[in-house]
Symmetry: C2
Subunit: 232 residues, 2 copies
């Protein structure tokens, strides 16, 4: 998906290269080299460089050019950086980090949702859990739809957790949920235990029981974490 706008295409390509390791830390770029390679004006190169700098991917210095920085200075929580890392090599490693982050955040988010979610959201959560159950019992159901429901549920919980910092992780979690099936990190067909836990979360949130919601979500992410830990 080529970005329509010129400068963001440059940002994208360069971001991908740096986070992917094609441009190692210490490498030096110049505005001229960028504008030459991409066939864009210096101004566009400067704008691109400015956002890369904001993401901690490069540091710009006079007489020195744009120095590529190492991961320790990246804004690894920025959605763009996450997306780039999910594309390049180290994709599995990134998925692991993100999963651990989910492990940390989602139980508290579920508890928050039990306290703060509006009635409509609580109701929708019930619907989702019910539909998931139905799909699960139908045996080889529509994996596509199941994934969609799963994503929507986690999105709703994060978005209505009452903490905007948790909300900022919704897209990331969605990417993880989609990504792990794509990577075969997860049984394609839903696990019965997970089904029950999702129902438990929906019930607890609907009933406003924050502690039960937290425990149920802990069970879900624990399972996921275990699956990931067994990999390589």
């Amino acid at each position: 998906m080529p970005t329509v706008v010129l400068h963001s295409a440059v940002v994208d390509t360069l971001g991908l290269r740096i986070t992917g390791g094609a441009l190692e830390p210490g490498r030096v770029l110049t505005l001229d080299s960028i504008s030459a390679e991409f066939g864009v004006s210096r101004t566009v190169a400067r704008e691109a460089m400015r956002v890369l700098e904001g993401l901690g991917l490069v540091r710009s210095g006079r007489r020195v050019g744009l120095v590529v920085l190492g991961m320790e200075s990246w804004q690894v929580l920025d959605p763009r950086v996450i997306a780039w890392r999910l594309q390049g090599p180290g994709r599995v490693e990134q998925l692991r980090s993100l999963t651990e982050m989910r492990h940390a955040v989602e139980p508290l988010a579920a508890a928050g949702a039990a306290r703060h979610a509006p009635a409509a959201v609580r109701a929708r959560l019930g619907e989702i859990a019910g539909r998931m159950r139905a799909l699960g019992e139908a045996g080889e159901g529509d994996h596509e739809e199941f994934l969609g429901l799963d994503v929507e549920m986690h999105e709703l919980l994060l978005r209505h957790s009452g903490n905007e910092l948790f909300g900022a992780l919704t897209d990331v979690v969605a990417a993880v949920l989609s990504g792990r099936t794509a990577l075969g990190l997860m049984p394609a067909s839903p696990v019965p235990g997970a089904l029950a836990q999702h129902e438990a979360v929906a019930r607890a949130v609907a009933g406003g029981d924050a502690d039960a919601a937290r425990r149920a979500m802990e069970a879900i992410v624990d399972e996921v974490q275990d699956a990931l830990d067994e990999l390589p």
Copy 2:
């Protein structure tokens, strides 16, 4: 602390205004208005705008100008956005969100550190805990030094948790730790219970006991969370 570079001064001021609510969502800026107000060239205004756009604070469209966006589109996990919000009104609200994020992340980070931290770090954690104990027993010790030790301990744990996403929160946590004493959200003199818990964390990490580390850290953040929940 005025930023040396021109464009980042613009970014700072504008970022502060938007996150502080002085510029409400829907308000429209133009490059010309920016370059006029700050006395900078259009080019600089554009660079500033580009990073603001990357942070989700404004959306730029032709014939439309720069439209200020609401919090739901901000990159609330970006350190710059966090810093701005900690300065403006809503500072307490931001502190609350951040504290909840700590609550979510730090126990897992401590567990991770118990698994991954290098020997030097484990040793240093022991030193810190010991020094904190000494300061605490000395009664009215040096609050400044105590805070510094506290910050260093949490920094080390996050930085060596083995998860770079947790590591990205170090500065934030440091800001929270410093910020809450400044805001009087915390007893100036160390609580005995917290002292013991910090020692327990250090011991657990040194011994590689991930589960004990997690539990001890949970006790610490629970205490902090409770203190914050009692506010208004």
